[in-house]
Amino acid sequence: MTWALAVILLWPSMLWASLQLDVGRLQLAGLSAQGTVLFLDGQAGWLRIATLEVAGRQWRGVRLDCPRLRLNDGRVDCRDASIAGVPELADARLELAFSTTTRTANVTVRFAGGGRVVVALGPGEAIKADLAQLPLALAARLLPDLARWQALGTVSGRVRLAGARLDAELHLAGGGFADAAGTHAAEALVGQLQLGATRRDGAWRWQAELAWTAGGVFWDPVFVPPGVSLQANGVLDTRQLSVDALRLQAPGVDAVTGRAVIDRAGPRLMEADMSVHRADLAVMVPQFALPMLAPAQAERWQVAGWADATVQWRDGRLQAAELTLDQAGFAYLGQRFRVGPLSGRLPWHRADARAGRLAVDGLHWQKLDFQPFALEVAVDQGVVSIRPARLPVLDGAIIIDTLTLARTDTDWRGEGSFFMEPVSMRALTRALDLPEMAGTLSASMPGLVVTPQRIGLDGALILAVFDGYVQATGLEVVEPFGLLPRLRANVVAEHLDLAQLTETFSFGAVSGFIDLSLADLQMAAWRPLRFEATVRSTPGDYPRRISQRAVEHITALGGASASAAIQRSFLQFFNDFGYREIGLACRLVRGVCHMQGLEGGGAQSAPFTIVRGGGIPALNVIGYNRRVDWEELIARIKAAVASDAAPVIK
């Protein structure tokens, strides 16, 4: 403590009991007062300071009023004092005690809203401060930018500065903050900070321990629960803050460790090596990743397993990163789509290509289970390429020929090609709980494009079924990860054996072959929105018979009473009939199927031929209703299939 007593002027005033002392400049640990004048008047007094500086902050025209002042044996005691000119202490009551013999000072500040600070300025550079339930809102008085955060809570603890050593132990209770919209807020925070620092050669070497034990923080869009502890040490100088070692523990992660260098100008993270050890994906992904990446679908994803991660930051930017997955699993929409357990590592480096590998022990879509497979991955800056891979499913496989995923300006985009080793329809239909069919499914897709908005497939999906084939081209799924995935395709089928088809779907018995075209098919949530469908007998020479049951079903599609005509005629005595041609078209628009028969278009009320008879006995099936509600038609088909018992012949 140094006294720079520039001028001491003893001024015998008109009132002998009054005394004015021009102290000039006063300097204590961390405090400097210039133009200081002390005025004493019996039991009271005041101190005027032209310029006061404490810890780098400056106030002008400060006046300290002491209504109860005692001067005794080199001690100055000032009780119940108030201070003007320091807005931060406007509502505070002060007690000051100063000893000229020990050169120590004690200042107690009591704030009107509660909270007390006791500061002891000792000899040398020693400062002790004890804080008791100091409202955090007071911080806004020192830092006006904080005012909009509506800080809550109190801080208690102690700070000791002795020469080159600083120790602090602070407890926060009932802490909180909120911005006006409530999108960045905290409530009921309880925590403590222990800080120790030693100053040497103009730099502070520090160690800190922080424990956050209660309360929560919402930082849009992430909610962070308590239970976080942090230990760190490093060096702070005028240029940078170095964190030499850091260890953080939090719910859902064993530990985060690392080091970092922060440039104080900015401030900017210049260098860092961070490692995440054994993060529980079931906790971390819903808490951090999904709210940021897919908030609308956050509840649709289930995640399990563990992950380790490392991040290298150099020269102010990300240099390298690596993600290691251990038994990770992802499920979308309940169990409709599941991947996992998935293990392996995915590295990334700013400058070089890196190779990674993922072992996928399970991939399930609906009821289709893929057998385990491995993906070899090359990560070259922003592009992930998957090496050719074989994904076995049932008795065949999907072969990924090429697949690359790359970041775009706004999103990501995948491109590639794949084909299928034939899967037997018998195994596929069994796996999907469909009526069992013979045949094979294969695909050749030379052009696959995947973006978050669209999956496009150039090429063809081919089903060899019912002695013919079905080919789907122009396949496109719009918003595949959205609430309502939409499928578009053009489907053609040739030479489907009606005998196998009708037997499979229990629709009576029809012999012969049909060709089918389903143009401009659009589906949402697996329900058709629109298409233009035509079914025609395949040209050629082959036996064509249709059973009475099949006729019943076809006519039943036109309405409940349509089949009655057969049963009233002599035709009821025949089990099957010859036919020359079958033809039906349906253009689905806005839930209504607009039908045409073999003749093509016609007036709304004109009957149309669905089955043209031939041979003996011959039978024509005529449709009368060209507009049929799609939902009703589906219900009738289901009813017809369900009731495929022998018709009652009356």
């Binding site: 908030p295 609430l483 939409r486």
Partner: protein, 137 residues
């Protein structure tokens, strides 16, 4: 005003909006039914949020968080998710109605029409956004 009553009101509002709108807004397709059903299910969760002012109706036919302070801190992430999911559905609804009319390019007009109707029909006490900013009806 209890929550159930409000939920019923808004479901009715949705139907009334569709029913009273021009004929091309009445169109129904499987996709539109799916979206409407998803919105109706979500409404029970949204109704108290409209009433408390946490969520408001925007002039562009979407929802926005008006005052997250009205929701407990730990629920605010869920609030975000609800608003995002509802806005996804609403965009899908406008798009599907336009598509069902055979005019995908009408989606923006349909969105504006709905936006105005949502705001007109909102009960007193709800927050709505106009060109002048947020206001309580």
């Amino acid at each position: 005003m209890n929550i159930q009553w409000k939920a019923a009101l808004v479901v009715a509002l949705l139907s009334a909006t569709l029913a009273q709108a021009q004929s091309n807004l009445e169109v129904n397709t499987p996709a539109i039914s799916a979206v409407k059903s998803s919105m109706a299910q979500r409404h029970a969760q949204l109704a108290p949020l409209y009433a408390s002012g946490a969520v408001g109706l925007k002039a562009d036919g979407s929802l926005a968080i008006h005052d997250a302070n009205a929701v407990p801190l730990a629920q605010r992430g869920k609030l975000n998710a609800l608003v995002a999911a509802e806005n996804n559905d609403r965009s899908a609804l406008y798009r599907e109605i336009a598509a069902a009319n055979g005019h995908p390019e009408w989606a923006d007009d349909i969105r504006r029409t709905f936006a105005q109707r949502w705001i007109d029909k909102a009960p007193a006490g709800w927050w709505v956004e106009s060109h002048g900013g947020w206001a309580r009806k």
